[in-house]
Symmetry: C2
Subunit: 410 residues, 2 copies
């Protein structure tokens, strides 16, 4: 393989590439209801205690806890109900010893009350008196001021991807707009003399572009903006022109090289010539995806994907998506969406090489089975028919049928 | 619990509600690059064989397989190279016996060739002759016409959510626009006299709206369009007016009821009066989320969520998201995004009730631990601090620390 100057493991390749990608500096402020999936650009501290007042956590009666001490079924405490605190209002009643007020879940307590007796532990004696049959401790059935979050506490750290509950957590304390990192622009160049756009009728020997669309969709899922720049022919000058545009216009440039060796060589040469430090990795011990290129051009990350659609998607998952996460300043890598399943057929591999095998998941009697979808990496429907990938680690020579495997879902 | 006329298990509740939701009839045609996450509305058949021509799967030489039969290192077959088939072009050469042509990965074979000898199994003798040291069978190293998909074959069935590789599978066969189901409109009404919009300063006893934003974001993630209708006060007439609008304008209406019993009673009453058949489920044996309402009003699904933000999100995950999937006609429920982890602390439960416990996932030495985030279901930051939920099944009285549990990720 003269084209590959040094074949690295996946871990070595990642270590040489990903830590050198800095978050993009630009941020923007977006309204909270539109911030789903965006990544926070700064620590957000709470401007207030939440809740801001002691809230009843149950329906019942707010009381002075000491008035209930020692109460039992046989010897109940008698409490005079002197009023009610309606939802969303300040209490109009103040309790004297032996008095209580009707309380609603989420409402305030009466002035002077420090606990709530739940309605199930009371019995009405007459229109204004109840028996309390169990004692409550001070603070019982009450959510204290700041129990959810305290004023000044960090609500969300910088670098967190906003989930539904995070948006609710922000509106709860009155934060209605949030500073997030700008979405990274990811330029995508397909290359190959055989590749034509999908709306064109391919001539003999020609195929329609796939990678622009699969990679574009992956970029969108990861929080980037795909910027497809079209198809470059297998000539160095033409590819160079498009490559320069890709690096200039993108925060990350992704090339999907042609599938033949000569074209891959052109791609590597063009990327090397774009700027410093240039190619960091060329060739990874992985199947599919060996002829991968990872580069840095004037601080901008560049990924050269193999042209085969299956290889391109596997490599994009391992390097393009983490590169986008790095550009977003994402603090924790997203928890992988994985399921455990029983491998349905033997999978062979070569020790020293990390393999990714597409599998289809079926459920029989509640047990998940991962059926390998074998197919050449030229075949996009190998992935369409699959639900995820099983990794065969570099130190294994395969996985026998019947083993438990972790499936990384698409 | 006089408010709940019959408490059902989660499965019973789902069985009574979800099968009655029909897919919305309207569809629309969208360009493939914008179709990520949309759901197909019809079976899509391939208009062509893919690939449309036999493609070389390797770099090497296209040959007549029979010319290589019996070839070995000691007794190689000699093949005269009479030309090259460039990428993206029809072959200009026709092979006579004993002849071959240079082939590129993804390119066509020469006319008359039926196999490809990989370059590693050849040796150059002179400028136009190679030695082949291993025989190839007919079809070897060749992707046959229709090997990826055949003309007329169903590419994607109706009811599939489009993933990146599905988009690439469509462009590969020249499908550039796809008929998908219209996104369901999900109207959302918050209620409660204590609830104010997030941009308003709450008075004493008031809190800011959370559920409109958490539920809206969940709806968006599931492929629906959230339509927030605002906050209804705890008066029957006011709530009824907004509820009628919610059912009229939405394909699915979601109410987040106030948290006190009286308000929940009003919500149930209003939903019952909206139309036929009305309330199907009122009360589920689950924690949090017991006072859930599931209804059908003139064929439209209606979900009454508990007002507590944690309960609201748990119940939305169990009933609102599957309802959206049903409206979209989604064929297979999405594979749950789950991880297996070791439970970090004991979790107690009551047999007969399904419990959902928020957990935070930490990784130590490669082992995932699920640490329960205990907190009242009024506290939204219980969920902000959590990565997912652990289910305690109805037949268990808890889960001891150290057990392997499945965490359903947010």
């Amino acid at each position: 393989m003269p084209e590959l100057f040094q074949v690295l493991t996946v871990e070595e390749a990642a270590a040489r590439f990903l830590p050198r990608i800095a978050p993009i500096p630009e941020t923007e402020v977006v309204p909270v209801p539109e911030a789903l999936g965006r990544v926070t650009a700064e620590d957000l501290a709470s401007p207030m205690d939440l809740p801001a007042f002691p809230r009843s956590n149950m329906d019942g009666f707010s009381v002075r806890a000491e008035d209930t001490f020692g109460a039992t079924e046989g010897l109940p405490a008698y409490v005079k109900i002197v009023g009610e605190v309606p939802m969303g209002q300040a209490p109009a009643v103040r309790l004297n010893p032996g008095e209580g007020a009707k309380a609603h879940t989420g409402g305030m307590l009466a002035d002077g009350a420090d606990a709530v007796v739940i309605v199930e532990h009371t019995q009405a004696v007459d229109a204004t008196t109840i028996e309390v049959v169990r004692p409550v401790a001070p603070g019982e059935n009450v959510i204290q001021v700041g129990e959810d979050v305290r004023k000044g506490q960090v609500l969300l750290a910088a670098g967190q991807r906003l989930r539904p509950q995070d948006l609710g957590g922000l509106t709860a304390v009155g934060i209605t707009a949030v500073r997030v990192r700008r979405r990274p622009r990811v330029t995508i160049v397909s290359s190959g003399d055989e590749v034509v756009p999908p709306d064109r009728e391919p001539g003999p020997g020609q195929i329609r572009d796939i990678n622009t669309y699969t990679i574009g969709a992956l970029v969108r899922e990861a929080g980037g903006i795909p910027v497809p720049l079209g198809i470059a022919p297998d000539r160095e000058e033409a590819l160079r022109a498009l490559a320069e545009r890709a690096v200039a216009e993108g925060d990350l440039a992704v090339f999907s090289a042609g599938s033949s060796v000569s074209v891959r060589d052109i791609t590597a040469k063009v990327i090397s010539a774009l700027g410093r430090p240039g190619v960091l990795v060329h060739g990874i011990s992985i199947k599919p995806g060996k002829p991968t290129i990872l580069a840095l051009v004037d601080e901008k990350p560049v990924v050269g994907l193999p042209g085969n659609p299956v290889s391109a998607m596997v490599i994009a998952g391992l390097f393009v998506l983490p590169a986008i996460a790095a550009l977003l300043g994402l603090r924790d890598p997203p928890h992988r969406t994985e399921v455990t399943a029983i491998l349905g057929k033997n999978v062979n591999s070569i020790p020293g090489r990390e393999d990714y095998v597409p599998v289809r998941i079926t459920r029989r009697d509640g047990v998940l089975t991962a059926e390998p979808v074998f197919g050449k990496s030229n075949l996009i429907y190998t992935l369409v028919r699959a639900d995820g990938l099983v990794k065969v680690p570099a130190d294994a020579s395969g996985i026998p049928a019947g083993e438990r495997v972790t499936v990384r879902l698409f």
